[in-house]
Every structure is written in C-alpha cells, then in structure tokens.
C-alpha cells in the first residue's frame, strides 16, 4: 500500500503514521513467526540430544585386551568360528567350559553367539572409563583414542550403538554395558494392558451416561464439573491415591493373595495390577472428555430415526450411536493411553525402588516400566547410564510413535467414509 492512494488525500491526518503502522505490523508479524520456530527448534534439539547420546565411542577396561587374542594379526571380529572355539577352550577354566557346553553345544551355536561368549567370558569387559557422544565420536575420533591411550592404557576404545537388538532383548542389569530394557518394556506393556481393560469400558460408559442419559440436574452437573477438574489434577496425586488405596487398602487383592496367589515378593501390593489400576484412574477423565466429544458429534437425526422405529434407548445407543462414534472414541483413547505409557511419577510412587531383573509374569508381579527405568538411569551420575537412558528414550518414543501412528491411521480410515 502506498500513501499516494486517493484515501490518503481525502483524509490527510490518516496518512502520516500509516507507514509507521504498517512497519510495526510487519515487525510483529516476523516476531510471531519466529516464536513458532522455538517449538520446532526445541523439538529438534531434544531429538538431537537423545540420538547424540545413544551412539558413540566408549572406552572400556577389559580383563583381557582383545588385541592379544588376535591370531596371526587377524582381530577376533574377523576370525572364523573354529578359531573362536579354540580361543574359548584355551582361555576359560574347564568347569566354565563344561557349563557353556551344557547350555548349548558350542559347536552348534551360530557365529554371533560364539563371538558373544568370547566377549563375555574371555575378554570380560569390566568397567567403562569414558563415553563420548555421536558428534564427538565422529569429529574428533583420533583425539579421543589418543587421550584414552594416555590415561587408560589398558582400555580399548570402540564404537557402540547403545540402542541395539541386545539392548532391547536383555533384562535389566546393574551393569550399563549389558543392561537392557526387556523387563521394563514388558512391564510397560502389561501395565498398559490393564489400564486399557479397565479404563476403556468405564470411560466409554461414563461418556455414554453423560451424553445420552444424564438429565440436566445438580448431580449430573456435579459429575461433569468433577471430571473436568480431575483432568487437571497432577499425576503424582494419582500416584499417592494409588499408593493409599491399591497398594495398601486393597493389598490382598492387588498382591493376588485372595486368589491364592502367594508370592512373597509381591505381598506388599506394589504390583503391576496396582500400577495399571492407578493409571486407569489417571487417564479416565481425559478419556471420558474425548469420548463425550465423539458421541456428541453423532448426528441427532440418527437417534431420532432409531427411536421412530421403536428402538429402546440402549438399542439406539448400541446399534446406531456407538458404531458411529467408535473411531473418534478410539482415537481419543489411544492418545490418552499413550499419555499413560509415558507417565512416570505415579508409578515411581507406586512401585517404589524396584530393581528387578526377571520378566514380569502376570498382574501380580513386581514391576518396572520404561519411564521408571529412564528416570533411574538418568539419576545416575556416570556417563554410561545416561547413554542407556537415551537409548531407552528412543525405545519409548518409538512405542509412542507407533501408537500415535495407529491413532492417525484409524482417524483417516474412518473419516473417509
């Protein structure tokens, strides 16, 4: 816009600061735009930090330097299976060798398994003396190697992807080098399964009641306000509720004692069942609100047509309202469940300091979950625990991402109809 427009000639007092006003407008426009970048930059930085910490060089003190095991100058990574077997035979005690054979004949194992035996029982990595991030490892690799040579002559430097198949498949351990997230992942999945089983029917039921049955009266208004308020209660409060009710008051139920399930380790009620029920209470308000919206979106003419044909209220809901609302309900449910998977604080309160290395066997086992594991590893001072925490975060994010992708697919699939 220029000031030479006819309008500015007609209203001379309007023109002088017009340019200034447009300049201010443009300035703020840029500012608004820039502030949207902050969100993106932060997301990028967050992902960068996590990936950067999940891979990188690591210096490990070994009991036996793998370099000395090389045969005729060929490093052990490149030796064939026969030679590796000889190395094992020469370097482990007879008793240990017999034990290994009992676990599975060495000659029948795959190369990878035999190599793992060499690393675990011959090289015997002892402790991590230093870890470096991915970027450091790529940019100043030689400097790092020189530094380690000088300070820890015994140590060997190698590139380690902290997130690897072994990490996903191994149970928890106090040793960062062999710790994995299988225990925690199974714990998370079992907990969430209980949460879904409990929260989904209750949440949909409450939403149906509020949308289809509830008359406009004080009690129902109270229920609605109450649900809105519960959605804003901090998650840690739910943890304390769960601790007081599910862990302590209902101990005989949550430890499985009344079902004749007597496992002394879970007799205190700090079980997967308690955790799942607590998370169910936590996600219920959000789930109900989402489901209500989905039910409200169903066109009223459908209900009226059904009533007109003589259907009862429940027949109308079951055959007409729910089938139309279910994609929306499920999308909302998946989103609130994915919130539950990442919940940490209430589960720390419920599960307390759990260190378990065995897989949870059912609703009455002690548990640990991925977020708890991440929290515990992050709280450790040593660098290598931060590396495995980062790797565990990647696993958790992958789980969440696949859930959210499922929600989006569901939404797209049904909204196309």
């Amino acid at each position: 816009m220029s000031d030479q427009s006819p309008g500015s000639r007609l209203t001379p007092y309007f023109a002088p600061n017009l340019q200034q006003r447009h300049r201010t407008s443009a300035f703020w426009r840029v500012l608004f735009k820039l502030s949207t970048l902050v969100g993106m930059v932060m997301l990028a930085l967050l992902l960068y930090t996590v990936v950067n910490d999940s891979f990188g060089l690591v210096a490990i003190n070994n009991k036996v330097d793998p370099g000395t095991l090389a045969v005729n100058g060929v490093p052990i990574e490149e030796l064939d299976q026969e030679t590796l077997l000889t190395i094992i035979q020469n370097n482990v005690s007879k008793g240990k060798f017999r034990q290994l054979e009992r676990e599975g004949l060495l000659a029948e194992r795959t190369w990878d398994e035999v190599y793992q035996v060499v690393i675990d029982d011959v090289v015997q990595p002892e402790d991590v003396v230093g870890t470096w991030t991915l970027v450091e490892s790529l940019t100043r690799r030689s400097a790092i190697i020189a530094e380690v040579k000088q300070e820890h002559p015994q140590a060997s430097v190698q590139f380690k992807a902290w997130l690897n198949l072994n990490f996903i498949a191994s149970p928890q351990s106090s040793d960062a080098l062999i710790a994995g997230v299988r225990t925690a992942m199974l714990g998370s999945l079992l907990t969430i399964a209980i949460t879904i089983l409990v929260a989904l029917p209750l949440g949909i039921g409450a939403a149906i009641y509020l949308e289809e049955y509830a008359a406009e009266n004080r009690l129902n208004r109270l229920i609605q306000t109450n649900i809105n308020n519960l959605a804003g209660v901090p998650s840690i409060i739910y943890g304390m509720l769960g601790l007081a009710i599910f862990v302590r008051a209902l101990e005989s139920l949550t430890s499985g004692a009344i079902f004749g399930f007597t496992d002394p380790t879970t007799a205190n009620g700090r079980t997967i069942l308690s955790a799942g029920l607590t998370l169910a209470l936590l996600v219920l308000p959000v789930l109900i609100i989402n489901a209500q919206e989905a039910i409200r979106a169903v066109s009223n003419s459908l209900r009226e047509a059904s009533y007109g044909l003589g259907a009862t209220r429940w027949q109308t809901i079951w055959h007409h309202v729910l089938p139309n609302a279910i994609p929306g309900i499920l999308t909302g449910a998946i989103l609130s469940v994915s919130r539950a998977i990442g919940e940490t604080a209430p589960l720390v309160v419920i599960g307390a300091a759990t260190y378990i290395t065995f897989d949870p066997s059912g609703p009455f086992s002690k548990f640990t979950t991925l977020p708890i594991q991440i929290y515990q590893w992050t709280s450790r001072a040593q660098g290598e625990y931060h590396n495995i925490a980062a790797a565990a975060i990647l696993v958790l994010l992958a789980m969440l991402l696949s859930l959210n992708a499922a929600a989006i697919l569901l939404r797209n699939r049904y909204s196309r109809k």
Binding site: F32, G39, L46, V233, P234, L241, A345, T378, L396
Partner: protein
C-alpha cells in the same frame, strides 16, 4: 414378535412405560461409570486428608510451623513447607515466563496469520511436543539445558542441579498447552469482528491485538491459569534436573527441591508406612491438590464469567 402376540390376543396396546430390567441394569452400570469420578475425588480428598491429619496430629508438627517454617528437615523434626513451595513457585514462574509470551505469539500466528500449509506443519509439531513424556524432558533438561547454561554463565554460577534449566524446559513442555488453549479462544472470535476492524482501516496487527485478543481474553486467561497449575504439578522434570534436597533460596541457578520432586524422591526410596515421613508426603500432596484444584476452578470461573458472547 411382541406385536404379533398382542394383535392375536386382541389386547389393547399399552402405551404406558414398560419395565425393561435389562435397560435399567445398563443404565445403572453407566451411571456407576459416571459416578466413579466422584468416588475418585472423594478418595483423593479422604486419603490425602486422613494421612495429612495424622501428620498434623503428631506433636513434632504444628500447622503454623508447616506453613511458615523455612526448613524442611524431617530428620531434625523440622517441617516447614516454604523451601519446597518457594522452589515450586520459582520453577513455575520461569516456565510461565517462557511459555506465556511464546504460547500467545504462536497462537496469534496460528489463528490470524498462518496459511493452511504453515498450520499443517506447526500443529503436528506442537502435538508431538505435547506428547513427549515428561521424563524425556527431564533428561533433556539435565543433559542439554544445564550444560548449556553452565557453558554460557560459568560453572561457578550455575549448579549441576538448578531451578533455571528445569524451569526453562518446563516452559517448553507447557508451550503446546498454552498454544492450543489460546488458539481455541482466538479462533472462537467471530469473523465479523475482524472484518469490521479491517473495514475501519486497521492493520492486521491492530486487528489481532486490539480486537481479537480482547475479545478472547477470558479464554487466554484460562489458558494462563491452567498453565500455572500444570507447572506446579509437573514432577519428572524437576525431580531429575532441579535438585535432590530442600533448599530455601531465591537464586534460580541453585538446586532446590520442589514439592513434587520431594514426593517422588522420598516415595521412590525405602519408606515405611505410618512413619512421619510417609504422612508428611500426604500433607504436601494435599497442599498441592488444593492449589491445583483451586487454580483449575478459577480458570473455569474466568471462562464462564468473562466470556464475551456474540449473537
């Protein structure tokens, strides 16, 4: 089938309400689902209240000392909530000073300026930010934000555990919440108001700031209050990055445990039931619950009371 039998027997069709036990049963169950939320609230109030009462009954504790004491040292029998509350307030203020202006700016951009294309990129980014678990933000605060602050301001100034990095990252966490609530409020302002402003010669900025924002002020205020409530209740970021011991300080670069951080640390350790430590956690929990509930109720009041209605 029912109709056939009726006509055959030539009975008059009853138009009165028929008893349907199945329907009544289902309705009963659905009502129970709805009423469960009331039970949850009652459960929270009862359990927190019960343990808190046990705590305040203890001779070593007095309510006055609890509310005004500047030391929280359970071993020494000192239970003053101020250090924990102070840290909670400072981290929340830092978070809000990031999240409020940025969230408002992003919301204004999304509702007034953004093209469809820009929205289709930005909205998912914000949704992803909102969906990342808080423990991951905690990790981010400790391994990215803290080293960053330390390298900028110096290692003597900034502690490893400090309120500033926790607060800043918490701001990023709350940003999507503020943005989406504010954007909803801004988009609800009728188009006619904007057209009228443009018609009078207002620039885009003037329309947004002088017309749209005031019209949506109730929703924006509610977003602000909900944001504060969320910041106060936020746990994992502060548990990981802000510090592991109560500390009464106003220096944001020092570590000081918040209320939530304290609850998580103590209950994550070995804690015996019915000890004063255990009960004290519930007293803190009750305090936290009352504050956040109060804030949530205020935000709902704001929306109801100050909403501008059009048409």
């Amino acid at each position: 089938m029912a109709i056939r039998t009726m006509t055959r027997k030539n009975e008059a069709i009853s138009l009165g309400r028929r008893r349907r036990p199945r329907e009544a049963l289902i309705q009963g169950f659905l009502f129970f689902c709805g009423a469960l939320s009331i039970l949850t609230t009652l459960g929270i109030v009862y359990e927190l209240g019960k343990e808190a009462l046990l705590f305040f009954r203890d001779p070593a504790v007095s309510l006055i000392e609890f509310l005004t004491g500047t030391k929280w040292q359970p071993q020494a029998g000192e239970f003053g909530i101020l250090p924990l509350l102070n840290s909670t307030i400072i981290t929340s203020l830092i978070a809000m000073s990031i999240a409020l202006p940025l969230g408002l700016a992003v919301a204004i951009y999304l509702s007034e300026y953004a093209t469809l294309r820009a929205r289709s990129i930005l909205k998912p980014v914000l949704e992803v930010l909102a969906g990342i678990p808080t423990v991951v933000y905690g990790y981010f605060a400790l391994t990215f934000m803290t080293p960053l602050l330390r390298s900028i301001l110096g290692k003597d100034v900034v502690d490893i555990y400090n309120m500033a990095s926790g607060g800043l990252v918490m701001g990023v966490l709350i940003l999507p919440l503020i943005t989406s609530m504010s954007e909803d409020a801004l988009s609800a302002v009728p188009r006619a108001l904007r057209e009228a402003a443009y018609g009078l010669g207002a620039t885009k900025l003037e329309t947004a700031i002088k017309v749209v924002v005031p019209a949506a002020i109730s929703g924006l205020a509610a977003a602000f209050v909900v944001g504060i409530s969320r910041a106060i209740g936020e746990t994992m970021i502060v548990a990981i990055a802000v510090g592991a011991g109560p500390n009464f300080t106003f220096n944001p670069f020092m570590g000081a445990e918040t209320m939530t951080g304290h609850i998580v640390r103590i209950s994550g350790g070995d804690l015996s039931y019915d000890s004063i430590d255990y009960n004290s956690l519930f007293a803190i929990g009750l305090f936290l619950f009352v504050i956040t509930l109060g804030l949530n109720i205020i935000s709902q009041r704001i929306v109801r009371r100050f909403r501008e209605t059009y048409e």
